[in-house]
């Protein structure tokens, strides 16, 4: 096990800045998720850590050792690919034991270690089969077994769950978390699925356009998004982001004509004039029209999502969603008022960053 440090790491493909001078520090034993939309640079970052891609500039350190230009085999890492990359001509046992075989470990010892790991991953009954005779979930476990068997310093995951159907994915997610707690190896996990990142990671790195948008615990990322990108990316549905004009002197927020709200708390520094106001749908509540301290809103659509309902409303010309925990869709008139939980609101400046 080891820590991982990326310093000013950069990789451009022609004019595309795939990874643009990123810094990241991962502690020993931490599970980090690189999260972002496709093309954000998360996979390129992972491949540079693996040594499958070389950076244009910057440094990668595993533990105290700079590995920036070392080939993958000299980095002592393990990697799980999206398609698992199990060798079709080898049995499960041969696949799992292959990392030891290339290290010239004796056959007897390989056998013992394979049995050991197979037990841990509950695949011991599959050892003599070929990958083509396994289900997707079983293949995934075999790939995990191959990754943990040689006790690498860092394990890298490239969207390892995205080939599974949604039920299996939840199961595999829980299993992976359990395994991680048992094995405790430093891990970097690339995903575009925020629920996966939230569920698995100690630390989430949100990326966009080759840059790191925010690094934090799942709670930090969700509760206090550092900028409008993270606010709009994390959460399903994401945070409401409303254009708003602030009069700092009177602490008045204007969302349009006749849509003013009195702010009850201290405004953050710089919250004046044109800003963006952000609030999560669960902190928007629906009140009778015209109630003091609410904004006038017009019902747009209501969606029943099982344990909760999503109400979408027009406030002026802006669309706002509210989330209600309810067994049934509420009966609502066309015109209502909405109240915002002011302690949960954020202000974002014109540069997109949160005003503190």
């Amino acid at each position: 096990m080891a820590s991982l440090n990326l310093t000013q790491l950069r990789r451009h493909f022609g004019t595309v800045k795939a990874v643009d001078n990123i810094d990241l520090a991962v502690n020993d034993g931490q599970f980090v998720a690189l999260l972002g939309p496709s093309g954000c640079g998360k996979t390129t970052t992972l491949r540079m850590i693996a040594g499958l891609e070389l950076p244009d500039s910057g440094e990668i350190k595993i533990g105290e050792k700079p590995v920036t230009h070392l080939p993958p085999r000299d980095r002592n890492i393990a990697m799980v690919f999206q398609d698992y990359a199990l060798y079709p001509h080898m049995t499960v046992a041969e696949n799992v034991g292959y990392p030891l075989k290339v290290r010239n470990v004796q056959a007897v010892d390989i056998r013992a270690r394979v049995n050991n790991v197979a037990e841990q991953l509950q695949i011991n009954h599959l050892l003599e089969r070929r990958p083509s005779q396994l289900s997707g979930g079983q293949q995934q476990r075999v790939a995990l077994a191959r990754a943990v068997i040689h006790k690498a310093q860092i394990t890298l995951y490239d969207e390892p769950l995205s080939n599974l159907d949604s039920k299996l994915r939840l199961e595999a997610r829980a299993f992976l978390k359990h395994l991680q707690r048992e094995v405790g190896v430093t891990s970097v996990y690339v995903t575009h699925d925020q629920a996966e990142a939230m569920a698995l990671a100690d630390l989430i790195v949100v990326m966009n356009d080759g840059k790191i948008m925010q690094v934090g615990s799942p709670k930090d990322i969700y509760q206090t998004p550092a900028n409008m990108f993270v606010a709009g990316f994390i959460g399903s549905p994401p945070m409401n982001l409303m254009a708003c004009t602030v009069d700092a002197a009177t602490r008045t927020l204007r969302f349009g004509d006749n849509l003013a709200l009195q702010w009850q708390h201290d405004l953050p520094q710089g919250a004046h004039g044109q800003v963006t106001f952000g609030i999560r749908p669960e902190y928007v509540s629906i009140r009778p029209a015209g109630e003091p301290g609410t904004l006038d809103a017009k019902l747009y659509v209501m969606q029943m999502l099982g344990s909760e309902s999503l109400i979408m409303l027009h406030v002026g010309n802006q669309l706002v969603s509210a989330r209600l925990i309810a067994d049934d869709l509420p009966e609502l008139p066309e015109r209502v008022g909405i109240a915002l939980d002011q302690k949960r609101g954020f202000f974002y400046g014109t540069d997109g960053n949160r005003l503190i």
Binding site: R73, F81, A85, V102
Partner: protein
């Protein structure tokens, strides 16, 4: 099973018939006529030309006369020469070089790759006669390109076709046909997911281990297909005749050239037919191996 046909039976027969007639005329009829001719002493000139006699298995006995058949210019010797030629130019030359090029340029897309591939394909698709004369000029002892190039490095000129006839036609046929193996292996390699090799790199496999443990097993049906096909083609190739005419002293008389000499230069049709039948049997064996392998591949 219910039959669904677009065309009625008579019309579909009408569509098939031209192909069938051509095949019957140029393949099936010659096959039987050669087969029956191989039991006679039919020739173009002499007494046998007018009155061919039935000679039973004499022609075959002569071919397989183990006292003389390994003499230069006899059947056994030409089979051995062909085997050397196939081994050198097809199995080692074309397949080896084709595989090497495919591996060398695996997941590369640069100018050098385009250059090598284009040149190899040009060598492959240019007509035999053009290629034959180009190589004749290339290897010419006095004004040939090869000797000129060697001269630049201070190396002595050689009469390649006279001194190294076998080596020359092996080099020629390797150059000529590498493109097929190269393209076959390239497409087989590109069908292998890059994550297989990347996984092995991360695992710590050396280049040799990657080749031996990952690529080779994943390519083995392609390799079998390639080897059998190019063996079949090289076995029957006639183009080296343009360079050496089978000589000097029958040293490069491949079985195809031998057949040609007996049947169409000596005009001993009976003997020539017996050679053709023997060659056909060898081909039949090779083709069966190919069909068995490709069927095994499909059912896998």
């Amino acid at each position: 099973m219910q039959q669904r046909t677009v065309l009625s039976r008579p019309i579909s027969l009408a569509f098939i018939s031209p192909a069938f007639i051509l095949i019957a005329l140029f393949l099936i009829y010659p096959f039987f006529s050669i087969f029956s001719m191989s039991f006679t002493n039919q020739a173009l000139t002499g007494a046998a030309a007018k009155n061919p006699q039935y000679v039973g298995l004499d022609n075959y006995a002569e071919l397989l006369d183990f006292d003389t058949w390994m003499t230069r210019g006899e059947f056994g010797s030409s089979i051995l020469i062909t085997a050397q030629f196939v081994l050198g130019s097809a199995l080692i030359g074309q397949a080896g070089l084709g595989m090497s090029i495919a591996l060398l340029f695996y997941r590369r897309n640069d100018l050098l790759r385009h250059l090598v591939y284009t040149l190899a394909i040009i060598a492959w698709i240019t007509p035999d006669v053009v290629i034959g004369f180009a190589w004749f000029a290339f290897l010419d002892p006095n004004t040939g390109t090869l000797n000129n190039i060697l001269g630049l490095f201070g190396l002595p000129a050689q009469d390649w076709l006279l001194k190294f006839p076998m080596l020359s036609i092996i080099a020629f046929n390797t150059w000529r046909g590498t493109a097929f193996s190269m393209l076959l292996f390239t497409s087989a390699l590109s069908a292998i997911s890059p994550s297989y090799l990347e996984t092995s790199q991360v695992i710590g496999a050396s280049r040799w281990q990657q080749f031996r443990d990952i690529l080779l097993p994943m390519l083995h049906t392609t390799i079998a297909t390639d080897l059998i096909l190019i063996t079949l083609w090289t076995f029957n190739t006639f183009t080296p005749y343009l360079l050496t005419g089978g000589g000097p002293g029958y040293q490069t008389e491949l079985v195809s050239i031998y057949t040609y000499r007996i049947g169409l230069q000596n005009f001993e049709f009976g003997r020539g037919s017996a050679v053709a039948v023997a060659v056909m049997l060898i081909n039949l064996v090779l083709a069966s191996v190919y069909l068995i392998v490709s069927r095994a591949r499909k059912t896998k």
